[in-house]
């Protein structure tokens, strides 16, 4: 292993590049992770997966109608696609005897198929690459157009936009903390407190779509799906309290982005986004084994304590 290449160079000669990749990975992972916490608590982890696929036709339609890649049209298209997906899932499983899991599968696959067809038919007009949607190209994030305030360079547009989305997500969660909490844990209590669970549900899905689409272009669907689920799941194994869970989620995101950068370099320049997910999975596996309260080791010891040694005859 080339220590110089893997560990030193990114933070010395290539610092100006690496820092943006790192920040982007961290912003994406923590924004996704924070929304993902609620998905896990609401047992809707795979709805996140579904929406991250079904924003594709939303993006394609938004692009075809507006002929531009402006941020707000993209956000609007994605938000609509997210809400349509949620509605479709709801309609299929409440109006027929098809269960929710199958409804999710049907809804997202049809929408994704429509998206792929739209992109292939209008390939000359749509500047969207389906493969980029899947892999993403976080490596090139630093070369994105810089955002200027006056004459000061703040950073590449993608990173600045993602920072804005993360900030918005955090503000929304802080403002509606109580509503999200009660509607996630106890629908009955939410009703008695006057919280409209349906509105909260759709608002959460709309937020999710925005987070997904802003992360999409630069990091791809895999990182999004993974970061919706893995940080929250790791945190869920380590704590029983929602605020602590959120803090752990953010720490997890920071660590996996860092590990991912080095892992990708060590692994002869494989996809950085993929390497970040692999790092996140490794952290999850560590939590699974070593978690003080829910870990495998603890579980094993507990079983041993509870079943006494058979007495020798």
């Amino acid at each position: 292993m080339d220590v110089q290449y893997v560990f030193i160079e990114p933070w010395t000669t290539e610092f100006s590049n690496t820092i943006w990749i790192y920040l982007m990975g961290f912003f994406v992972a923590s924004a996704c992770g924070l929304v993902g916490n609620y998905l896990i608590l609401r047992r809707m982890a795979l709805v996140g997966d579904a929406i991250s696929h079904s924003v594709l036709p939303g993006l394609a339609v938004a692009f075809l109608l507006s002929h531009s890649r402006q941020t707000w049209t993209m956000f609007l298209g994605a938000m609509l696609a997210g809400i349509v997906t949620t509605l479709l899932i709801e309609v299929i499983h409440s109006k027929s005897r098809v269960k929710q899991d199958a409804a999710i599968g049907i809804a997202f696959s049809s929408l994704f198929a429509i998206g792929v067809i739209l992109i292939s038919v209008f390939a000359s007009k749509v500047d969207l690459d389906q493969e980029c949607v899947l892999y993403g190209e976080i490596e090139y994030v630093a070369s994105d157009l810089p955002v200027l305030i006056g004459s000061t360079v703040i950073g590449p547009a993608a990173v600045v936009r993602m920072a804005g989305v993360l900030l918005g997500t955090v503000i929304l969660i802080v403002l509606f903390y109580k509503e999200l909490l009660v509607s996630s844990f106890d629908k009955g209590l939410a009703l008695s407190l006057g919280v409209n669970s349906t509105v909260v549900h759709y608002a959460l899905m709309a937020t999710l779509s925005i987070v997904v689409v802003s992360a999409f272009e630069s990091v791809g669907a895999i990182l999004v799906i993974a970061m919706l689920i893995i940080p929250g799941a790791t945190a869920y194994l380590l704590t029983d309290r929602l605020p602590t869970m959120m803090v752990i989620t953010v720490i997890h995101s920071a660590l996996s982005a860092l590990m991912g950068i080095h892992l990708a370099r060590w692994w002869s320049n494989s996809a950085t986004a993929g390497a970040m997910v692999v790092s996140a999975s490794i952290l999850f596996a560590l939590a699974w084994v070593f978690s003080p309260r829910h870990g495998l080791i603890r579980r094993y010891l507990k079983v041993k304590v509870l079943t006494p040694e058979p007495e020798s005859i």
């Binding site: 696959s109 067809i117 292939s120 993974a226």
Partner: protein, 504 residues
């Protein structure tokens, strides 16, 4: 492991076994009789005349079209059959997770030989799929994370490993790596002869396994506890099903791609689930839907040059689902809505008939006509509302209307229906007070609902249990069979034996 007597899905009156055998045999013959000379692949066709394309597709003159159709038929069979099991087991998204989880296996299978040998890729992908499903089970068993989260973790992490390996492969200097990315989106036209042979073999293996273990899989799907109590090794069966599922996913990858494989497993099976109640029939329908959408997808992708096949197959399957969702005879939205509407209308009619009976009863059945005003007072509705319902009753010949529509008289049918409803209502009230010990003033609302749905057999049973009592908890007369069958002679109910006639 105990074996239950073999009872395959195609035995008995459902789908004839011969159909399956014929289809599979035909496909296998078809594949092997294909000339091995490679003609132009679908993607390379350049002429754009649609009529020509349609002709070429349906005359099967191109080997590539034959390959594609054979592949889609095999794929539809395999996915439809196995998808049925995961849909009824509420594990539909297992297919989604599996299709992503096999990706590292695909890449490793490629790295093993550095060429796209379908067999190595198949073995690698199957192993990766099995490790994936085992990890899902392990996470579910040993942590407090729920199934959806466990699936999501496996899906994302395995897929990420796969992507890393794929980019690694693309950075390699050697090897015929072109086309490895076809696994992401799928191109049925890129299937070769070896792919098809592999598909046929896998398809036969899946059919044979499901044939042999049908009873066991049935028990596992609907009642795991029951399956366990029969002495079946439930875990082994589950892993066998997952193995077959990995097979199906791997052979579908090339045609429809990673993202859309799950649709091939879920959508045809969910369509069939709306159309039938029996697993054997569901499997049959799912296979047919899978095959037909496969062929339709291949057709459309052939029409528009160079369009990916997978999305079209998925869209065709989704259209079938929409059709079943709307028009299925028993579970379809439209027919269900129509039935509800009819039931609601019938309830309104029956309530009006009941009110006419009540008005007549309050007057001791001394006249056979009832005025609209009286009915409006009885029902606490406006005269216009009553008028509308009466017109409806008239058109069903349940009543006749006299004196410019002001006086309503039962027809014999109308009398019968009204007396039946009143009888049902009062019998039920009596039953609830006597047998369920509910207070007499609490039983009305319940009876108000049940009166419209009680069948003749239930009524007879109720009468027997209540010793043919003829007074309800409020002291009113319960119409008897004789009362109902007077058919409008308007004998005063309950006084038949006394010989008193209430005719006017």
């Amino acid at each position: 492991m105990n074996f239950l007597p073999i009872h395959p899905p195609w035995s008995g009156r459902h789908i004839p076994r011969t159909l399956y055998v014929c289809v599979i045999a035909a496909v296998i013959l078809f594949v092997f009789s294909c000339p091995s000379a490679m003609a132009a692949r679908i993607g390379e066709i350049s002429e754009t005349n649609i009529g020509d394309q349609v002709y070429r597709f349906f005359t099967l003159q191109d080997p590539s079209v034959r390959y594609t159709i054979a592949g889609c038929i095999l794929l539809g069979t395999c996915c439809g059959m196995l998808g049925s099991f995961i849909v009824v087991r509420k594990m539909a998204l297992m297919g989604d997770a599996l299709s992503h989880a096999v990706l590292p296996g695909v890449a490793l299978g490629f790295l093993w030989t550095m060429e796209k040998n379908p067999l190595y890729i198949f073995v690698g992908a199957t192993i990766a799929g099995l490790i994936g499903t085992a990890t899902v089970s392990a996470i579910k068993r040993t942590t407090r994370l729920k199934e959806d989260t466990a699936l999501g973790i496996v899906l994302a992490s395995f897929y990420a490993v796969g992507i890393c390996l794929l980019t690694y492969i693309q950075h390699l200097p050697t090897g015929n790596k072109s086309g490895i990315d076809k696994f992401l989106f799928g191109q049925a036209a890129a299937m070769g002869r070896e792919d098809l042979i592999l598909m046929a073999v896998v398809c036969v293996i899946c059919l044979v396994m499901v044939y042999l273990f049908y009873k066991e899989l049935l028990a596992l799907s609907f009642d795991t506890a029951f399956a366990r109590s029969l002495g079946l090794n439930v875990d082994l069966l589950h892993h066998m099903l997952m193995l077959l599922l990995s097979f199906a996913v791997v052979i579908s990858l090339k045609a429809v791609g990673v993202v859309l494989v799950s649709a091939m497993l879920i959508t045809p099976a969910a369509t069939a689930y709306l159309l039938t109640e029996r697993l054997s029939r569901m499997i049959g329908i799912a296979i047919v839907v899978g095959m037909v959408s496969g062929i339709a997808g291949a057709f459309f992708s052939f029409l528009g040059n160079n369009l990916p096949t997978g999305p079209f197959i998925v869209l065709a399957a989704s259209l079938f689902f929409v059709g079943a969702f709307l028009f299925a005879p028993k579970h379809g939205v439209i027919l269900r809505w129509w039935r509800t509407l009819n039931r609601r209308k019938r309830t309104i009619r029956e309530n009006m008939l009941k009110s006419i009976y009540h008005v007549l009863e309050q007057r001791g059945f001394d006249a056979e006509g009832v005025s609209t005003r009286e009915l409006a007072e009885q029902r606490r509705e406006t005269v216009e509302d009553v008028e509308g319902t009466l017109r409806e009753l008239n058109s069903h010949s349940l009543i006749t209307r006299h004196e410019d529509g002001n006086i309503t008289i039962f027809t014999p049918d109308g009398w019968q229906r009204a007396a039946t409803i009143v009888r049902n209502h009062r019998l039920w009230e009596l039953y609830l007070t006597n047998e369920a010990s509910i207070a007499a003033d609490h039983v009305h609302d319940d009876a108000e609902i049940i009166e419209h749905v009680l069948g003749e057999e239930t009524v007879m049973e109720l009468q027997k249990r209540l010793d043919y009592a003829n007074l309800d908890p409020h002291g009113k007369h319960i119409p008897t069979r004789e009362d109902i069958e007077q058919r409008g002679r308007h004998q005063k109910p309950g006084t038949l034996t006394s010989g008193y006639g209430g005719q006017v």
